[in-house]
């Protein structure tokens, strides 16, 4: 368990329409030195990335209004360096692969082990740093 890393916390944008999910995730990720900001839908998320700097984003595929793939495409336009990790509820490899084709870093099926998510986030962030 890496509850308190000495390094700077990772700034993460978490986009999901389930508030119950995002609120617990924020707390859990916080303990793992990942500071998450939450957006309830695509529109909110797009507004956030315009004004803030994020190291990575975690994006649910299925949401009310704009779906995850559309949001992903806009993210990639606005902030192409920011790695995006897709979350999927129904485990469809097809949609996830599509996400990858659109530039997503990786994907995970819900429910997942928190350690898997944090590992992917850290990998994404460190890869970004290396390439920068």
């Amino acid at each position: 368990m890496t509850s308190n890393d000495s390094t700077d916390p990772i700034r993460l944008l978490l986009v999901d329409d389930e508030v119950e999910f995002t609120s617990v995730m924020v707390k859990r990720l916080g303990r793992r030195n990942i500071r998450a900001m939450t957006a309830r839908n695509g529109t909110e998320a797009i507004a956030f990335i315009s004004g803030n700097e994020f190291d990575a984003a975690v994006l649910d595929l299925k949401m009310e209004g704009m779906d995850g793939l559309e949001v992903l495409k806009i993210f990639k336009e606005k902030s192409p360096e920011m790695p995006v990790i897709m979350l999927t509820g129904h485990g469809s490899h097809q949609a996830a692969e599509e996400g990858r084709a659109c530039g997503a870093f990786d994907y995970l099926s819900k429910p997942y082990e928190i350690e898997d998510l944090t590992r992917i986030i850290r990998n994404a962030v460190s890869e970004r740093k290396e390439s920068a």
Partner: protein
């Protein structure tokens, strides 16, 4: 079920019967109608021809005989006028005349006689001793003396031999006398008896009283009355008697034998030439044709019945087969519809369940996170809390696995048919699965024939089959570890690949159910029982086959056979070995 099968058997039986009857009726009706028409036309025209032929023949002979009679009569008339009564009264002269006639006409005229008005024979020339015969009491004499020319019927007369006479009346000093000539009966008889036709046709002459004017033929009816009846009934009573046209009559004589009579008139209607022939003989060709037609009809009928039997049986079997196929297809349609709706339901459920489960798992995780804080470390039930929370997480992930399986079952979506190399796909999957296999102490060996033709199928589906079979193989191997061998090769028109494991094997009782949907031997919650059922469906859909061999304790082997697409060639065997 039995009663249903019985009803169905009855249905096909009645179907068979109906087809049989229909075929027989449809075949027989035209056969009979045409047969009947042809028979009628043939019979009518043939009968007309035979009748015409017989009529012509009788007419011709009647004319011939009549001419013979008339000529003899004319000979005798001219003889009678040639010399005087006195000259003829001299026996020697008469004999000389007879000699001359016989020289000229043959022995047709047997004898000559001169008879005076009292019936006394004045002179006679001939082979009999009749010089002083007196005919005054003879019937012929009475007729002859009262007419110019007289021809008698055939009679025995004084000489005791059948004969007939022609008498010519002349006058000498106002007193009549007769010049009488006897016509040789045999010569006349021969003329009539020369008329023959077929086996039973012959002719004879009768007079108005039905008395025979020619010899009896051995074929003649014993009952001579019949002939007189023919004459009286059919000739005498008929106005046709006066015409030259022959008359026909035919009737049953005694038994079933039918006889035709054709009559032509002679001697100005005093005699009749009658031709008699058995109906069967006269119409022998017709009877022959009838026999042939009947034989044809019988043979045709038999072949129609055999054909009808065969057609009805064959058709009923075909229909039964088609019905069975239809039923199977219906079941398949129902089942696939069923599966499709299960699939849609599964996809919906999976999505709806995964989100709340994710929240549950995360909340439990959050408690676990908090438990790490020091204040909780002294808690009395720390171990129990940790265990319970771990269980929540574990079961949440299990829910995810189940929904994923349901989804993959529901998905079967990418049905695009592509050409691809099965070896490449196997390598990809083996790589993907290698991690999982290592974790379970399982090694995977590939023995792939590099010269395999491509297969034509949905790659996603084949992928699914491979995933399922390899995962099953890994699951069948216990923690001690084991080995999986995947091979590909070609056998004629089939591409084959098999997955053999050194796992626990499948008991015989389970083998027959392993492809049934929802059949699983894995603990509740671990297996859905859909994997092999899906594989089976996919392989069968591709016209392939899936075979399983298993020995408990030694392992199982699943072999898949997929048809080589027509466009692909047949390369030679070549094993390539890769170990992962």
């Amino acid at each position: 079920m039995d009663s249903k099968a019985g009803v169905r058997a009855d249905y096909y039986k009645s179907l068979k019967r109906n087809i049989f009857i229909a075929v027989v009726i449809v075949s027989f009706i035209p056969l009979l109608i045409f047969g009947g028409i042809i028979r009628y036309v043939f019979q009518t025209s043939y009968t007309d021809r035979v009748r015409a032929h017989l009529a012509t023949m009788v007419k011709k002979h009647a004319l011939e005989i009549d001419t013979f009679l008339t000529e003899r009569q004319a000979n005798i008339v001219s003889l009678a006028c040639a010399y005087t009564y006195e000259q003829y009264a001299d026996n020697t002269f008469l004999k000389e005349v007879l000699g001359r006639i016989q020289n000229a006409y043959g022995a047709v005229i047997t004898d000559l006689g001169i008879i005076n008005e009292n019936g006394e024979q004045i002179s006679y020339a001939g082979p009999f001793q009749l010089e002083d015969a007196n005919y005054s009491d003879s019937e012929w004499f009475r007729h002859a003396i009262s007419s110019d020319i007289y021809t008698s019927d055939v009679f025995m007369g004084l000489r005791g031999q059948p004969h007939f006479i022609v008498a010519v009346r002349s006058y000498e000093n106002g007193k009549p006398w007769l010049f009488r000539a006897t016509i040789d009966f045999r010569a006349f008889n021969d003329l009539v008896q020369s008329i023959h036709m077929g086996e039973t046709g012959f002719a004879f002459i009768i007079n108005r009283d039905g008395e025979m004017q020619t010899d009896f033929s051995p074929r003649m009816e014993a009952d001579v009355n019949r002939y007189s009846k023919i004459f009286t009934q059919t000739i005498t009573d008929s106005p046709a008697l006066l015409s030259d046209e022959p008359l026909f009559d035919s009737f049953e004589s005694g038994t079933e034998k039918e006889i035709i009579y054709v009559a032509g008139l002679l001697k100005k209607g005093e005699w009749a030439l009658i031709f008699q022939q058995d109906h069967r003989d006269a119409y022998s060709n017709l009877y022959q044709a009838r026999r042939v037609a009947l034989l044809t009809l019988v043979l045709g009928g038999i072949s129609i019945i055999l054909m009808a039997f065969w057609v009805s049986r064959h058709t009923a079997i075909r229909i039964a087969e088609a019905d069975k196929e239809k039923e199977i297809m219906n079941r398949q349609v129902i089942q696939s519809g069923h599966l499709a709706s299960i699939g849609m339901l599964a996809a919906g459920i999976a999505h709806e369940i995964n989100n709340p489960v994710a929240i549950m798992v995360e909340e439990a995780g959050w408690i676990e996170d908090l438990m790490e804080d020091e204040e909780f470390q002294e808690s009395e039930n720390l171990a129990e809390f940790t265990r319970a929370l771990g269980q929540i997480r574990k079961q949440g992930l299990r829910c995810r696995d189940i929904t994923h399986k349901l989804l993959s079952f529901a998905r079967r979506s990418d049905q695009r048919i592509q050409f691809f190399n099965i070896n490449d796909l196997i390598r990809e999957i083996a790589e993907l699965i290698a991690q999982h296999a290592r974790y379970n102490n399982v090694t995977i060996t590939l023995k792939l024939n590099e010269n395999l033709p491509h297969i034509e199928a949905s790659q996603t589906e084949v992928e699914q089959v491979l995933f399922n079979l390899i995962n099953n193989a890994i699951d069948a191997i216990d923690k001690k570890g084991g080995h999986i061998r995947i091979r590909t090769w070609q056998d004629g028109g089939m591409i084959r690949f098999d997955i053999q494991d050194t796992g626990s094997g499948i008991p015989g009782s389970d083998l027959e159910h392993i492809f049934d949907p929802f059949f699983t031997t894995k603990p509740v919650g671990v297996g859905t029982g859909l994997g092999l059922s899906i594989c089976y469906g996919i392989v069968k859909k591709m016209d392939g086959d899936i075979i399983v061999e298993s020995t408990v304790g030694k392992g199982s082997r699943f072999e898949i056979r997929l048809p080589v697409p027509e466009a692909e060639m047949e390369p030679e065997q070549d094993w390539g070995v890769n170990i992962y």
